[in-house]
């Protein structure tokens, strides 16, 4: 595939593949900031699930955490793109990477549409639980897809 051949030789791949610590540093950024992103989303999810912060609304918690989530997600995605560029062909043909990419896309879309809308409103407990459970499951899918991409590469 021409686009993959084009992507296969790029300066980021050179940096990640031909330096001793390039790939490891990118992975560490990816993992640490991913933890931060999901952790902040989980704070809102715990409220939606009725498990924590009973005296605060999910809207307030979302307002307090969104900036951290956004910054952490941005760093995670940028580091992830650098990792992808280290070997685009391998990732493109990996079924687990495809699973992760789709799960990530769905998780981000869900987070900034339905999840955000539900959390910003005053959801009924049932709606809150459903929104929280879907969020947790989507992010767990992303982590699992990422892990298996690495393990089975």
């Amino acid at each position: 595939m021409a686009p993959l051949a084009f992507l296969q030789s790029n300066p980021i791949a050179d940096l990640l593949n031909n330096t001793e610590w390039g790939f490891a540093v990118a992975e560490c950024f990816h993992i640490v900031f991913f933890g931060a992103a999901i952790g902040t989303i989980m704070i809102v999810d715990l409220r939606l699930l009725g498990l924590a912060f009973p005296r605060k609304t999910s809207a307030k918690l979302l307002q307090d955490t969104w900036a951290y989530t956004l910054i952490a997600l941005a760093v995670t995605v940028l580091a992830g793109m650098a990792l992808f560029l280290s070997d685009p062909r391998m990732y493109y043909f990996s079924p687990w990477f495809r699973f992760k990419a789709i799960a990530l896309l769905l998780a981000i879309l869900y987070n900034y549409t339905i999840h955000s809308k539900v959390a910003s409103s005053t959801p009924s407990p049932r709606v809150g639980v459903v929104a929280g459970v879907i969020s947790v499951l989507l992010w767990i899918s992303v982590v699992t897809g990422g892990l298996f991409t690495g393990l089975l590469a």
């Binding site: 640490v32 933890g35 952790g39 704070i43 955490t65 951290y68 280290s86 590469a153």
Partner: protein, 161 residues
Amino acid sequence: MTAVEQTPWVYPVIMATHLCCIALFGGMILMTDLRLLGLALRDQTIAEVVNGLRPFKRIGFVIMVTCGLLMAGSEAPTYYPNPYFWTKMTLLLLVGVHALVFKPIVYDHPEALDKCPAIPTRAKAAAMLSLILWVSIPIFGRLIGYYEPGEGKAPQTVTHR
């Protein structure tokens, strides 16, 4: 341990659980620390954040450590000579020391911190050290996979994802 070693899918599942816990609960540690530093969740009291997230962090910690022990136990000969593994273990030990030092003076009395006119230095010190420790632990955890016995340094990474 035998099941972890001999069943092909058990190790990846344990590792996935380990990583999910880091992702789900590591962020809560981050938010607690940022609150103690006065950088996030400022509309919540310190007590609300510390007490509200405590049970989830404890559950996450127990699951993480259990999965970690199962993984390390199943491949003990591989882990034993790995310097990154021992660095991670040392950092976990330091987490224990951190808890022994700061639990009685910070985490057990968050309400007292809320009554202070400014966040006390001991609370900020606890948060900073916690951040340093908990950022370093997943980093060294990942680096475990980069070690090749005999070389004493990381190999060309492209072959070791």
